[in-house]
């Protein structure tokens, strides 16, 4: 059996650009400020937690493929480059990289702008916007930026898909098809996505950003974190609701102990949180709920959870960390990471 290690982490979130900003916000534990997003036809805007502009502006954003790309591509690029660390892009030589980008809503900002143009005046709708609306656009841009990406895929689904991406990259590593594998979860925010989320829970605050884990088989290069388990994907069906699936996911993971961390997806919305609360009600260790601070970032939030859990292990705060991803409309998947020996 191949052992899989976390090589690096990256994050862009409403807390800022980089894992240190994410770490500081979660350590403070205070929900980040809300920013209004105007909602056409309504007096009151919808609130969201948005990614602040980077300061200074990262040099890689000047890359030809990124200059006109959507914000989600910028988030993915920043998170991926941070997770790669000193594994610099070099198209002329190995290492071979694998890349999986996971999305739920995807490039909503350009999709909104483009379809608005289509309805108003289709003959003059921007040919520059349309390509950016495609789910695969961020992965394409990042592959061009990095240069040495040999395998790439974009997975779509609810936020638990992030761990399907981790599983696929672990397979690529085990089969020797890549030397390093990046798994990125990312989302954008705009008023339309906020409007959609509002229909399901008025208290849910949408947010945006990206998170990335870089995986490898090399213990020596690891950040001190090892992946030890990914549960089955517990799909929701008419005879298996979110609560059932969350319980099944929990049952496939160790019980935990006092010096272990549970990084969950609770966000303070009673109805949405209930299945996960019930599944983990007897958890004996510490808990961290990044969405309470950062908001509902969908796939980005799953990535933040994973990054936060691995970061806590890498810093020696815990001996093991369990990740609970109870997605909104597809599946529940859990993971367990430990301090690498």
């Amino acid at each position: 059996m191949s052992r899989v290690f976390v090589r690096g982490l990256g994050a862009v979130s409403p807390a800022g650009w980089g894992v240190p900003a994410l770490r500081a916000a979660l350590a403070a534990g205070v929900p980040l400020p809300l920013r209004p997003t105007e909602r056409p036809g309504w007096d009151q805007p919808l609130n969201a937690r948005l990614v602040p502009d980077p300061s200074p502006r990262p040099a890689f954003l000047a890359h030809a493929r990124l200059r006109r790309a959507s914000p989600i591509t910028h988030y993915v690029a920043a998170a991926a480059l941070e997770a790669l660390g000193h594994i610099l892009p070099n198209p002329a030589r190995t290492p071979r990289l694998g890349l999986i980008v996971c999305l739920q809503s995807g490039c909503v900002q350009y999709s909104y702008r483009f379809f608005k143009e289509v309805l108003e005046a289709p003959a003059t709708a921007s040919p520059l916007l349309f390509p950016e609306t495609v789910f695969a656009a961020p992965a394409s841009h990042i592959s061009a930026l990095l240069g040495n990406v040999s395998l790439v895929s974009t997975l779509v689904g609810d936020p638990a898909v992030f761990l399907q991406g981790v599983a696929q990259v672990a397979d690529w590593l085990a089969e020797g098809r890549v030397d390093f594998g990046l798994v990125v979860g990312a989302e954008e925010a705009n008023w339309l996505r906020a409007d959609a989320i509002w229909h399901f829970d008025h208290g849910c605050v949408p947010s945006a950003g990206a998170g990335c884990v870089c995986l490898s088989l090399e213990p020596a290069a690891s950040a001190g974190v090892e992946l030890t388990a990914l549960t089955d994907a517990q799909t929701y069906l008419s005879n298996r609701n979110r609560s059932d699936a969350a319980q099944l996911m929990r049952s496939q993971l160790p019980a935990g102990s006092a010096n272990e961390l549970l990084c969950d997806g609770l966000q303070g919305c009673r109805r949405l949180d209930a299945p996960e609360l019930a599944a983990w009600e007897d958890w004996p260790g510490s808990r961290l709920s990044p969405k309470r601070v950062l908001g509902e970032g969908l796939m980005a939030a799953s990535a933040w959870q994973c990054v936060a859990a691995c970061d806590a292990l890498a810093r020696g705060d815990f001996t093991a960390a369990t990740l609970s991803l109870v997605g909104c409309n597809q599946q529940a998947i859990g993971a367990r990471f430990v301090r690498a020996s």
Binding site: V118, F130, V134, F135, A144, T154, V156, H199, L230, A233
Partner: protein, 413 residues
């Protein structure tokens, strides 16, 4: 468990196709589609699903769907309310399921490729949110059902199985990648059988998008023609049931063909343009052949991606030329998009089913609208219906953004 991966002893199992379902503008089902592909009929007509009066191009290959769906485990009320993409997908999945003879189980993965999912619902959500923002009726349902994972769950519910649902969105290579991933899952011991395929319904956003790029042919696509002027958009789906040869043999299942190779590569040249020399497409074909341990000389037919855009076809032709070498002169190639248009996320899966038809029924699908073959093509393009006894066929998918997939099928006898 998704990790650690299961231990595997011995070589990977052989993977065969035991069921196939297909929906295109030719109609719904293997028989009607086989007739259409064999004759090389074209299906382009004025778009009726949305307003194209202000678009540069006005033709597409719409699928005529039956008024009623086949009986499944879905409640009649739910089935009657399915969106267009879900209906297309369900028709294909139901046919494949029936042909396979599979029984429902709790551990059956579903791998789907799509570019848009239920985008028609997303478009409707947008219009209502903008035009009548305080009228919420139906909006939560639209927000939920436009997402492809919901459509995957509908298929599982309709056919009575459960298992992981994986949605691949690698643009126009999505369907090919979905079959490829399913193949890899069986070979790695992750699953004994997998349902896989691709689908997309015609949507205004996507049609207008390609029109904005001036990529749509005003008169219907002519892949590999020297005077080609763009692609044609179509809609449809194909689903196949993949399982190990041992499993199929134990059941005494009819085997439609064997999937023996898969290659997946990335072309970082440009977001909307393939590398002029087709380097990633070439690498995908080489990879698929290497895995299958076959040579280009062994291949009897290539179902090309062949969209009909000047850049795609010249890039793919260059790749085929280099890959096939001297064998190119004797290698029949055609693009079935000439008849049904580009099905985007459904294309790779539909073209995989066309390959199965070629192997089973022993003919080659022609491009009957081809007038002047592009001289860059060193291979013969199939222009007239003809019989052919093929043992090995290859299918290419080249995606917007650079994802490439090649599938390699062998006749099973």
């Amino acid at each position: 468990m998704l990790f650690p991966r299961p231990l595997q002893n011995g070589p990977p199992p052989r993977v065969v196709v035991t069921g196939a379902g297909i929906v295109t503008a030719y109609g719904s089902g293997w028989k009607v589609n086989a007739e259409g592909f064999r004759a090389g009929r074209t299906t382009f007509r004025p778009v009726t699903l949305f307003d194209v009066s202000r678009q540069r191009s006005k033709l597409a290959a719409e699928a005529d769907l039956p008024d009623t769906l086949p009986a499944t485990r879905l409640p009649a009320r739910q089935a009657s309310r399915l969106d267009r993409a879900s209906r297309i997908l369900l028709l294909a999945a139901h046919e494949a399921w029936g042909q396979s003879g599979w029984e429902p189980s709790e551990d059956l993965p579903l791998v789907l490729g799509t570019t848009s999912g239920g985008m028609l619902l997303g478009e409707e959500y947008f219009k209502r949110a903008v035009n009548s923002p305080r009228f919420h009726r139906g909006q939560p349902t639209r927000a939920l059902h436009y997402q492809p994972q919901t459509q995957g769950r509908i298929i599982a519910e309709a056919l009575g199985f459960s298992g992981p649902i994986i949605i691949i969105a690698n643009a126009c290579a999505s369907g090919g990648n979905a079959l490829g991933l399913a193949w890899e899952m069986i070979r790695a011991g992750r699953a004994g059988r997998v349902m896989a395929g691709g689908y997309d319904a015609l949507t205004q956003l996507v049609f207008a998008g390609f029109d904005a790029l001036q990529s749509i042919s005003p008169g219907g696509c002519r892949p590999f023609d020297a005077h080609r002027d763009g692609l044609s958009i179509g809609e449809g789906a194909a689903i196949v049931t993949l399982e190990s040869l041992d499993s199929a043999s134990r059941r005494g299942a009819e085997i439609l063909g064997e999937l023996i190779g898969y290659g997946s590569t990335m072309d970082g040249h440009h977001l909307t343009q393939p590398h002029p020399e087709g380097v990633a497409g070439l690498a995908a074909m080489q990879c698929a052949c290497a895995v299958a341990q076959v040579n280009p000389e062994d291949i009897d037919y290539v179902n090309a991606h062949g969209t009909g855009t000047p850049l795609n076809d010249s890039s793919e032709a260059a790749a085929i030329n280099r890959w096939a070498g001297s064998h190119a002169a004797a290698l029949p190639v055609s693009s079935t998009k000439a008849g049904i248009g580009h099905l985007l996320g459904g294309a790779g899966a539909v073209e995989a089913v066309v390959c199965l038809m070629v192997l089973r029924e022993r003919w080659l699908p022609p491009e009957t609208t081809l007038e002047t073959p592009d001289p860059i093509c060193r291979f013969p393009l199939v222009r007239q219906p003809c019989d052919a006894r093929c043992e090995l066929v290859l299918s290419n998918s080249i995606g917007f953004g650079g994802a490439n997939a090649t599938l390699l099928f062998r006749r099973y006898s």
